[in-house]
């Protein structure tokens, strides 16, 4: 159940100072399941999926550690499917080439909750359907799944329990858009919400069915370990949290992600 009060999505105006001193690890302090990937922390990455090979800018990343404390590290065993670590000034990001890059976790057991919040900073280079993050092999084919994606000139959040996928779109964000995106779901309430750059862009109370999220692989940058819907773009950071989030948590995390992405909220 949502249980977070009526002010959940009424987020106050963000200030850059809000990111200072905020540590996303606090989002997991109560044992929330999830993952936190931070390409700006070079100590968390390796070139190879077995955790060997120090990260080097302009070289592949085959392993990125989960900083949430849940151990949901994302890897890519096939060398040509690894994204590239890039640096632009003080920013670091994973560059996905639109061919087949993807990082994926082992199955994450989200069966204990029907709530989810995903934060990311991302750039889309192409203007096509591309996955930023997808829980399960395909949100349309599997219950208890979600997908955060680009669809033409929108950012799209899709989520479901055992019903049909409910999609909410944020527009207009075409090719070369760089955004801080927050996606929130509660299956039982029901609610699906997408925010971009600190502003709520769309929300839906259409039923997603019932039940909790599943025990599925989390794919970052493509569908089903790179098989389809490959991202041509950048990922500056990503946090997946099996809980809805308070307005303070949302605003602090969005401000944090904005500093990592180079976006002004």
């Amino acid at each position: 159940m949502i249980g977070i009060g009526a002010t959940l999505f009424k987020v106050p105006t963000m200030h850059g100072s809000r990111a200072a001193g905020f540590n996303p690890a606090t989002l997991f302090a109560s044992g929330e399941e999830g993952a936190w990937y931070d390409p700006s922390d070079l100590s968390t990455m390796f070139q190879n999926s077995d955790g060997t090979g120090a990260p080097v800018v302009d070289s592949p990343v085959g392993y990125i550690a989960d900083k949430s404390g849940n151990g949901n590290h994302a890897i890519q065993a096939t060398s040509d499917k690894r994204p590239t670590l890039r640096q632009s000034g003080s920013l670091y990001y994973l560059e996905y080439d639109g061919a087949n890059n993807c990082l994926a976790t082992s199955a994450i057991d989200f069966t204990g909750t029907d709530e989810m919040t995903v934060f990311t900073g991302a750039k889309k280079i192409a203007n096509t359907t591309m996955v930023l993050a997808e829980l399960a092999t395909s949100v349309g084919a599997v219950y208890g799944a979600f997908r955060l994606a680009s669809l033409n000139d929108v950012w799209r959040w899709g989520t479901r329990g055992n019903g049909l996928t409910v999609n909410v779109n944020a527009s207009t964000y075409g090719a070369n858009s760089t955004s801080v995106i927050t996606a929130i779901s509660d299956i039982s309430t029901p609610v699906a919400t997408i925010r971009v750059d600190g502003v709520q862009k769309a929300t839906s109370s259409t039923t997603q069915g019932s039940g909790n999220f599943g025990n599925h692989v989390l794919n970052v940058g493509a569908r089903n370990n790179g098989a389809t819907l490959q991202l041509e773009g950048h990922i500056y950071g990503m946090i997946v949290r099996a809980a809805t989030s308070s307005s303070e948590e949302i605003s602090s995390t969005e401000a944090y992600m904005a500093t990592k992405t180079g976006v002004t909220l």
């Binding site: 040509d80 690894r82 061919a99």
Partner: protein, 84 residues
């Protein structure tokens, strides 16, 4: 060490190429007319890249261009599975 490359193999050589460097490679399908090709593009380990070069299995190897530009140059059309 790694070599960034786009490697194209003809359909008849796909299995041999996978057997050579790994089953996870050559999963991008492309067509040129009625001919089918399979592509891997990205960071290859040097031993994987060298093995492909020396095998003679490749239809085309490029180490300079972006994936999309290689497709355009070789007039290959990626097979897109229509998914949302």
């Amino acid at each position: 060490m790694n070599t960034f490359a786009t490697i194209v193999v003809a359909n008849k050589n796909r299995k041999a190429a996978k057997d050579l460097i790994g089953s996870g490679f050559f999963d991008i399908e492309a067509k040129k007319g009625l001919r089918k090709y399979w592509i891997s593009s990205g960071h290859f380990k040097t031993e994987e890249y060298d093995a492909m070069v020396e095998s003679g299995l490749a239809f085309h190897i490029d180490t300079e261009k972006r994936f999309a530009d290689v497709l355009a140059e070789k007039e290959l059309n990626r097979v897109i599975i229509d998914e949302e």
